[in-house]
Symmetry: D2
Subunit: 397 residues, 4 copies
């Protein structure tokens, strides 16, 4: 298996370098998602032809059945370029939605929603975050689902619903059991097709100056007396929080390894620039000790990040989510910071070129700033780590 | 005079808060510079009516004749909003060009180029940086001006020529005395009207995802056998570097105080958000110690930054540029870092809202990243400070 | 007055450089305080002869009557060397005790305790911190003073009572009004002569490997049924907290300016070392960019620190303590951090020599680590600053 | 084998916690090395009885034959307490000297110098660093060995010769082949018994206020016409640098894992203190978010450090030193910084107690500051990492 993985990684790396990187800035600057999607559709065909499609998905569902530890390594390779994950159909939020549907979906839901998603024929979104509630807290929220006959009637106001534009359906997190004694038993996850008249796409939220388009956009969405059949419920009524939890662990491994891919790319660009940019004839930028410090510190930080993420992935493969509660939070805040550090240094080494859109550095610098916020802000994860550790010392804080 | 300054600052502050801030995101998201310019033209009329137009310019030229120390304080006020400086006609690069024209321009140049600039009827640009040469080094560059009869013929390739789109003229830094023994005596500054057939506007450079427009854009420009009369030379032939130096000191005070204005605005937004955003009913974000740390650290850093810049401005007013060589470099790298720190914290406190374009934080975070690069990168200024200090210890490094 | 100050500073600087610095490591390595004291007694005579004795004390009490702003500048000069303040009789904790006695002491107390202190014939200590209570909180403490006839009977356990060994008396902070409705009205300050049988000197606390001796030591002290006449009370019964507050503001200016003196000395040593240490013939350490970065960053930070402390001192001179509540906390945590930064860099530039006791750097590095802890830990000051600011935003946290 | 290692680690951990930690501050504060040595001799007997003596040494020489990866883990356990390594006879500089003697020693040298060292009957020192030469550079030095008949005559001035006081012999690095074309072929390593009349023990160098004693001290040493037989040469004449290199890799793993042991101990102390120290009744220090941040950040950094060091150890076991040139430099500067961070935070959490010698934190804080200096300063390692990486980009800087 190990040897196969090395082959998969090598194939993917070659594909990324030959097919995706040369294209990425062109795609990035395109205004129309339709055109971008058309070009990416060809790349996706190539990935299918290579047999690397949906690598994170069990073989029985047509994927490669990679373990988290293996898929993590692949995510690093794909993370090197802007649309790498999309080309392999393992991009957020679809990958997480596939996971949920595989684990909790009914046969009908799988047929209707999972199948086209796995095939890359549709896209989906996940509607959790709300503007009026702090944090991405799956417990406190204002969106409700009221049972009415055979239906749920959903009302609520979500934002940062990623990839909503053009998505076939949303998985909506909403309160359906307001009276449940445990706050963790109040929420449900319900599938809402986006052509439902109660699904209102309010606007794409402009982020760091970009509205984005299609998959690469984030929307404000309103659910207005949005009526869906009860059969659209995922798992049990009230199980929304528990389902969300199963999604988070792997999601953080994916994000972190994708970031490491970005880091490695930025690192290579930094070294390349330092080696070739001359301060004066024969004296490259690389001769400056400050640049050397940045290269060494970046190498150290990226190395540390990778070892920690792969260590967490391996433990999660072996022992499950709960065994790595500390590790999962640690990698989230550590890797997000490393990503910011490395991008900041790479930009500084590139000078004015670094802030221009002639390289992907500026895009990553501005857009991946969100990495320290989404899926739990740094501060939330740090407190979580500390509180878990402090329990061993007899205090609950 | 002191009392007057307080009145000016108060007037400007009121204007910024009532007229500019409510408008800034609307203007920012506008695609067309023509529309933005029309709206801003009204605001400029109001500034003229208040008697605060071109405050940095000597009274004899129609300005307020503020000293650097005074103007610095005004820049902080104007820096609070995206188009604040523009509304007062003290924005870069025009302010610097006005300074050069006042100090070095001939009567003819003043009549033709300075007058409409002072009146706000035209805009201008400054063409120095070149893609193929490291740093914004006014000594090493590839652009040349060859004397040919009564003309100069300029050839070269510039980029990051800010505000070139729609500018009436460029001041071009070019090598005209290649054989001069001192490298500091090789460059000249020459005025080139942008309707000159040899002036080619290649493209607006997209920065952090924005191409920008008009004044708020940065261009790549090519000078192709660009022929201008010798009377377009500013000062003496070979004096380009010396002229650039006179421009830099005040420019850095301006930038730094503008950044402090941004910092204060971001600081207020951070405090406001912390005070009003509730984690749970009655428990504001401000109750978290990490947020409190950020508020305290930001207050300290901004306070330090302001005191240092005003100290440098006062010394420069009293003793001239050369007396504050260390201070000017210190404030450049210190303030640029403080700006980045404060914006980063303000964004984190805002969560997802912070990376959205619903506030100006995202724009500043991405676009002011350039502050650590332009007008001398942090590393250049640090080495300069150290080398100046080390001379006193008997070493030249 | 200003010109006189410059003269005072110049005199003091010359004295520090000629008389104190050459001696400091010799004194530092001495085991016996008696010998050190004898040598320092000579230096103190010289200071008296120069007319610079107790510069912080009003002229009517035999001092120079310097304002905080002026004395701050002198503290920087004296801070350059290990025993600089002691030589001028403006060292902690005596200087603070003098202040209290001048402001709150009765004629009898002044005669008995202040006079010999001003003359440098005795030393004193201040007994506040307790091992069993967090922080140096003048409100919560375990030491009590019970009225019994004409006496107070004090019981309690203090530690980090600086300079207790050999002190003539202690000012003890203790709870005397346990029932007072406001916690801030419970404590009193009472003078206890150290020859009182109820005063037990438990041990000198070894700090960073040093027990220290005499003035330069910190003790654990126990008060056991320690009986003193009521006439030993300072100010009103229950005014202990209020008196302590008056002491803190100036004390922080003093500490911060002393630290800046240390910083400047360490900075000069760093530059000197960088300029003279050769990596290879003709290539000084100063040629390394990392060293240059440290020099520039240290220059910036020290400059910022000084401007902020002097700004706070001036405001305190003009408007009193309460006007500078934020500034006083800001300088405390900012300067303590700058001190640590600069010392850390200076040590690194010195290599193995830096951790040896062949220079004072190692002493400062280890012993001034306490600066981030005493007189309010960094974290306490940061929260205080934030809370004060947040009140303007309508929240009390 | 793996299971055995777990048993060894558990035994060692129990020994450290039961036998060493309760004793450490007592030993630390002892003035006389003779007394300390006597107490430690008993502990060493216990270690021998447990069968854990000289665990890093091949079984054929009486050790446990642990691989680097295994020994690294043991070093973490032993690093938790001040004299842990000494108790197991795997302390620097003896461990390194044993390695050299095993690999390069003649039978006679082994009999005379190695055997008693392995038995713990003698101690040794390693004389490399010189005050007048920058860095611990085994190429540039002033100490020379001149052949004279059957002897070498050594002259030179060394400092920071650790553990020289009471050592039986020194291994001296000196220039014996001044004319060698490669600078790396100039030095030799020669054994000098300390009772040689040419071996002058100048002084113990006081470090961070401690002179130290015996094994725990660092000396200045002079070699004055110091005559030793040629048979005292280690390996070939001119092989000194090459021999030193073989010693460095494992030495860094040892140091780093020992530091991680210190980090884990300090981390536990920090958590324990946070959990038990009350700000007010029922409100532990651990409830403060700043403390929680420090706990989480420390956990992340220590975890990263350990994974990187063990990764390097494993690669070194498998592929040898040269394969891990980057990793070895990375762990050196990364771990030294983590150690400083964690100790700084642990001290701050302990408040005044943290700077006192009532815990080992103050000792580590001050004495392990050297970790960023010895065996190659941070800056040297960073440049080395960068230069190695940059070679792949075609530049030699």
């Amino acid at each position: 298996m190990k040897r196969d993985l090395q082959k998969i990684l090598a194939q993917a790396d070659q594909f990324v370098k030959e097919e995706m990187i040369p294209l990425e800035m062109h795609l990035h600057q395109h205004k129309s998602w339709a055109e971008v999607e058309a070009i990416l559709a060809e790349k996706r065909q190539m990935v299918k032809a290579m047999g690397l499609w949906t690598p994170q998905i069990p073989e029985e569902y047509g994927g490669l059945g990679l373990s988290l530890h293996e898929h993590g390594q692949l995510m690093e390779v794909l993370g090197q370029t802007l649309f790498g994950l999309y080309a392999f159909n393992c991009q957020a939020p679809d990958a997480g939605n596939m996971e949920i549907l595989i684990e909790f979906g009914t046969d009908e839901q799988k047929e209707k929603y999972l199948k086209p998603l796995l095939a890359g024929k549709t896209r989906s979104c996940f509607s959790m975050t709300e503007k009026d509630f702090a944090g991405s807290n799956p417990v406190h929220m204002g969106t409700t689902a009221i049972q009415d006959g055979d239906d749920y009637v959903i009302n609520g106001h979500k934002w940062f619903t990623s990839s909503a534009e053009g998505a076939a359906f949303a998985i909506v997190m909403c309160i359906s059991q307001e009276e449940a004694s445990s706050p963790y038993a109040r929420a449900s996850q319900i599938i809402v097709p986006t052509d439902n008249p109660g699904f209102e796409h309010v606007r794409k939220i402009s982020i760091m100056g970009h509205e984005g388009a299609g998959w690469a956009s984030h929307s404000e969405v309103r659910y207005k007396d949005c009526r869906v059949p009860k059969s659209n419920l995922l798992g049990a009524d009230g199980a929304g929080f528990a389902i969300a939890q199963t999604r988070l662990g792997p999601g953080r491994i994916h994000h972190c390894m994708r970031w490491i891919g970005i880091c490695e790319r930025a690192f290579r660009m930094m070294c390349q620039r330092a080696a070739t940019r001359e301060l004066s004839p024969g004296k490259p930028l690389a001769s400056k000790q400050t640049i050397q410090n940045w290269i060494a510190e970046s190498r150290a930080e990226i190395h540390a990040a990778r070892l920690m993420v792969l260590d967490a992935a391996q433990k999660m493969d072996e022992k499950g989510d709960k065994a790595v509660r500390i590790e999962i939070s640690v990698i989230k805040f550590y890797c997000a910071q490393v990503l910011q550090n490395v991008l900041d240094r790479a930009i500084q080494v590139h000078g004015a070129l670094g802030i221009s859109d002639d390289t992907p550095l500026a895009y990553w610098y501005s857009h991946e700033r969100g990495g320290r916020i989404y899926d739990g802000a740094d501060e939330v994860h740090k407190s979580r780590v500390a509180r878990t550790i402090l329990k061993e010392y007899g205090v609950r804080v």
